[in-house]
């Protein structure tokens, strides 16, 4: 069977699936939340969080390596 035949049959079947919508309050909340970001670009947190994590991990590694050197005879 060809792709077109499969697609046609699936489309016929898909028409029997009812659309599902979320409740109006949730939709309004999501729209309100997202529209505030239109044209603003990604949140600064997106860059700050990985930077803080990198600083913490690096500090810990430096501390751990220093401890290893301290323990050496």
């Amino acid at each position: 069977m060809s792709y077109n035949d499969d697609a046609e049959k699936l489309t016929e079947l898909g028409q029997g699936l009812a659309g599902i919508d979320l409740n109006a309050a949730s939709a309004a909340r999501i729209a309100h939340r997202a529209r505030q970001d239109v044209g603003r670009g990604p949140s600064l947190l997106r860059f700050i969080e990985p930077a803080i994590a990198a600083v913490l991990v690096t500090s810990y590694l430096v501390w751990a390596i220093a401890k290893v050197f301290e323990a050496l005879p």
Binding site: Y3, A7, L10, G14, I20, D21, A27, I30, A34
Partner: protein
């Protein structure tokens, strides 16, 4: 389901690129129901679908100014939704593994799944169950082609697959759906 026309899409895209919140509202109204239906059927959980829908539109809002002039909004939104579903499914698999044999927590108090709850006839229930029983990879292709009416090239781009892989998945989805539906399959599906 009705798809927005090309003229709508161009106007919305222009508006989004200018940072026009009204254009965002139009896109949200045009795609909310389609994306949410898709996400509910992929995750089988309304609460998760709602979270992923919010994340999809947040990403659209944040990327609005950087969208290319030839962006196809539907494909863009379904690509983001697909990636979010994949990430969620991976995290869910890890949680399930960690939880071992503990009984799975259900999100809502209703005993029926969200899909079963909305089915208002035996045939529709059988249809929802048949789609739900498909492996996620086949289900996603079946939904994108059968419900969204997207061409194979666009589905392949959304899923990061080759058009040939999409064709194969669609053929397998059709076979499995026919088996699962049995007597509930449309007349045209049965042997002539």
């Amino acid at each position: 389901m009705r798809s927005p026309g090309d003229a709508d899409e161009h106007a919305w895209l222009d508006g989004l690129r200018r940072g026009d919140a009204t254009a965002f509202d139009a896109v949200f109204a045009g795609y909310r129901r389609r994306l949410y239906s898709h996400l509910v059927r992929m995750t089988r959980r309304r609460d998760v679908a709602e979270d992923l829908l919010q994340e999809t539109f947040l990403r659209l809002a944040q990327h609005a100014a950087r969208l290319a002039p030839d962006t196809r909004l539907g494909a863009w939104l379904f690509t983001v939704a697909h990636r979010l579903v994949v990430s969620w499914a991976r995290a869910q698999a890890v949680r399930d593994q960690l939880a071992g044999d503990l009984p799975r927590r259900e999100a809502a108090g209703d005993d029926r799944s969200p899909l079963e709850a909305l089915a208002d006839s035996q045939a529709q229930l059988a249809l929802e169950r048949a789609f739900a029983a498909l492996p996620p990879a086949y289900r996603e292709v079946a939904l994108l082609v059968g419900v969204e009416g997207l061409p194979p090239i666009e589905v392949a781009q959304i899923l990061g697959q080759t058009p040939e892989a999409v064709r194969q998945r669609l053929a397998r989805a059709r076979t499995q759906l026919a088996e699962a539906l049995g007597e509930h399959a449309p007349a045209s599906w049965r042997a002539p």
